[in-house]
């Protein structure tokens, strides 16, 4: 397949943290390719390096060695502002703790990346409203986060992550703060998004959650120990 169609292309990536004189390796040479439209879960026990990998994929952190191409762009050599631009345009983040701005209503939370992208207030509000409707919260636009349930807050966060139409949706334990019923809802939403062509990468330690993905990459001690397509992947998205 053509390089340019790859969402993520990670090669021999290492990450070493310096703690004074001590060097702590978090990633010790990780390579994989994620094509557009894939739905991948990254799993591993704590200390396996999955958070580090997530931060690198998310352009929040820089790799020590190796190369990383995101949607055709080599991001390993970019400066802080260029990385911010990549996060803004090509990545959408969904966090365990939702990470919405308190005191700010749902529409404005969703519209925030559009503001940083330089859109006018009118454009921001109309696009953000539409994305909220996409996640089933069209009527909750003016509710503040604390007035919404956990599931609803996570939907707002997903709408925000998608508002700049990114190449990749990155989710870090997206159901970690949700009960099982709500988790199911969010997983169904992810499934729908993937069915619609969205590339999703999800970090989790929950086998049940990971089972919704079509491919599971397992890490241990900074190395990939397995990379397999799950059984569900063959079938249609769960409904």
């Amino acid at each position: 397949m053509n390089n340019l169609t790859r969402a993520i292309d990670v090669r021999d990536v290492t990450k070493v943290y310096r703690n004074g004189a001590m060097e702590v390796p978090a990633l010790r040479g990780v390579s994989f390719v994620i094509e557009r439209g894939e739905y991948v879960a990254i799993m591993g026990p704590s200390g396996s390096g999955k958070s580090t990998l997530m931060n690198i994929i998310g352009c929040l952190d820089r790799l020590t060695e190796g190369s990383y191409r995101l949607d055709g762009t080599d991001v390993s050599a970019l400066d802080d502002n260029q990385l911010a631009e990549i996060r803004l345009k090509k990545l959408g983040f969904v966090f365990q703790g939702f990470n919405l701005l308190a005191r700010t209503d749902a529409v404005k939370n969703v519209a925030l990346p559009l503001f940083y992208a330089g859109l006018s207030a009118r454009e921001r509000n109309s696009i953000a409203g539409a994305r909220l409707a996409d996640v089933g919260l069209g009527d909750r636009g003016h509710h503040k986060p604390q007035e919404l349930s956990g599931g609803q807050q996570q939907r707002v966060a997903i709408a925000r992550a998608l508002v700049n139409n990114p190449a990749v949706l990155l989710a870090d334990e997206p159901t970690g703060n949700l009960d099982s019923t709500t988790s199911e809802e969010i997983m169904r939403l992810f499934g729908d998004l993937n069915a619609g062509g969205r590339t999703i990468i999800m970090v989790t330690h929950d086998e049940e959650v990971a089972s919704h993905a079509k491919r599971i990459i397992r890490l241990r001690d900074g190395l990939i120990v397995s990379d397999e397509r799950s059984a569900v992947a063959a079938g249609t998205s769960p409904r």
């Binding site: 998310g58 802080d80 502002n81 911010a84 631009e85 996060r87 990470n99 990346p113």
Partner: protein, 399 residues
């Protein structure tokens, strides 16, 4: 603008903190503005107080601090001598007044009667009639000019006073003018006296050898004022040469203004300094509260950066917040400063002196606001910079 909207929301969410933060700003801006406004009111007041002193004249009087100033007392004959022997002197009027009861028809009022030259009211606006003519002064015409206050007392029906007779003791003066209503200040009205008559008439009718407080000297060439003052003093000392070490002092508008200006300049500097210091302290307060705010909102900053905010955008957010603080502080300080400045001016200066001055609120505001903004930006830069340089991963992890 979203930055502004968000900043407003943050400041409104912490109303008490916001208010405490800007207290220094309010005091600083208020002090600077109030003192500027008051300064102008004061110089206007001096101008009003010296209404009796024309630009082309000065007062001369014995220095009352000398031992036997009685001997230095000036008499009518001294004035006659000054008129003749000192160059650049156009006219000399005695500084003297008497308190008498003034009658018009059946009405009467106690009045301060005083000597005036034709030049004294040359630029004064009149409600009725006008100033003495030099001919009237020279010919000892028994005419008089009333202050507006006296006119109101003597003519409660507001009728035309011109040509009417004013009786004082056994003298009779024809009213030829009424000064325009003021300039109502208490000081101004009293300073001006009630009934002015030509000094020639005053010398004949009232002076009768009495000693004078001094004299008002009118000069021909204003640029030679200082030299003329010296010449007048020398002439007076010459006239009183039998008294040893005699001293006279002169007093003109310019020197008086300089004196008041110097006193007020020091006052302005002190209050200005207080204002500057409190603005400086306010700046430190803003910096402190912004550092707290940055720490409190570390996670929020992390979210914004993860979403894709550039450093400049985070910087802008905190700058706008600081500037909004500054704006609110300046606004309240401005209102307070103007209220104090205008209030003191209206209730003290104008009431006392009748001087209404155009107050330089715009200049005062510009100075105070510019300084406050500079301080805010100077002290707001570091916290904003710190916020913009937070590491997004660390910031997101912050609880």
């Amino acid at each position: 603008m979203l930055y502004f909207e968000e900043a407003l929301r943050v400041l409104m969410a912490n109303k008490i903190r916001t208010l405490l933060t800007i207290t220094g700003l309010i005091i600083g801006v208020g002090a600077v503005i109030a003192i500027q406004v008051l300064g102008s009111g004061m110089s206007g007041a001096v101008e009003g107080l010296l209404g009796g002193l024309a630009d082309n004249s000065f007062f001369v009087q014995p220095n009352v601090q000398q031992g036997d100033f009685q001997k230095a007392a000036m008499h009518e004959k001294d004035l006659a001598d000054l008129r003749i022997h000192v160059a650049n002197v156009s006219d000399v009027a005695p500084l003297s007044f008497v308190r008498q009861l003034a009658h018009v028809g059946h009405g009467h009022s106690p009045a301060v009667l005083f000597a005036a030259s034709a030049e004294r009211y040359a630029t004064t606006p009149f409600a009725f009639g006008g100033n003495f003519t030099p001919d009237q002064v020279a010919a000892r015409a028994t005419v008089c000019i009333l202050s507006y206050k006296t006119y109101q007392k003597l003519f409660p029906d507001n009728s035309d006073p011109l040509g009417k007779s004013l009786h004082v003791a056994n003298r009779r003066y024809v009213i030829t003018g009424v000064m325009a209503a003021p300039r109502t200040g208490v000081l101004n009205a009293n300073f001006g006296g009630d009934v002015a008559i030509p000094y020639t008439v005053y010398e004949r009718d009232w002076l009768q050898g009495r000693i004078l407080f001094g004299a008002a000297i009118y000069v021909i060439d204003q640029s030679q004022m200082a030299q003329t003052e010296v010449a007048v003093i020398n002439e007076l000392r010459n006239l009183h040469r039998n008294v040893k070490g005699i001293q006279y002092i002169t007093f003109d508008k310019k020197t008086f203004n300089q004196l008041v200006g110097a006193v007020f300049g020091v006052l302005t500097m002190i209050v200005g300094l207080i204002g500057a210091v409190s603005l400086l302290v306010a700046g430190i307060g803003i910096m402190n509260i912004m550092l707290v705010s940055v720490t409190e909102r570390t996670r929020e900053i992390g979210i914004r950066k993860a979403i894709g905010a550039r450093k400049g955008q985070i910087l802008a957010q905190f700058f706008v917040e600081a500037l909004l603080l500054c704006g609110i502080g300046c606004g309240i300080g401005l209102a307070l400063g103007l209220a104090i400045g205008y209030g003191v001016n209206a209730f003290a200066i104008v009431k006392l002196t009748g001087s209404i001055t155009a107050l330089p609120w715009l200049r005062a505001t510009l100075i105070a606001v510019t300084f406050a903004t500079i301080v805010t930006l100077a002290f707001g830069t570091y916290p904003a910079y710190r916020a913009s340089n937070l590491d997004p991963i660390e910031a997101l992890r912050y609880e």
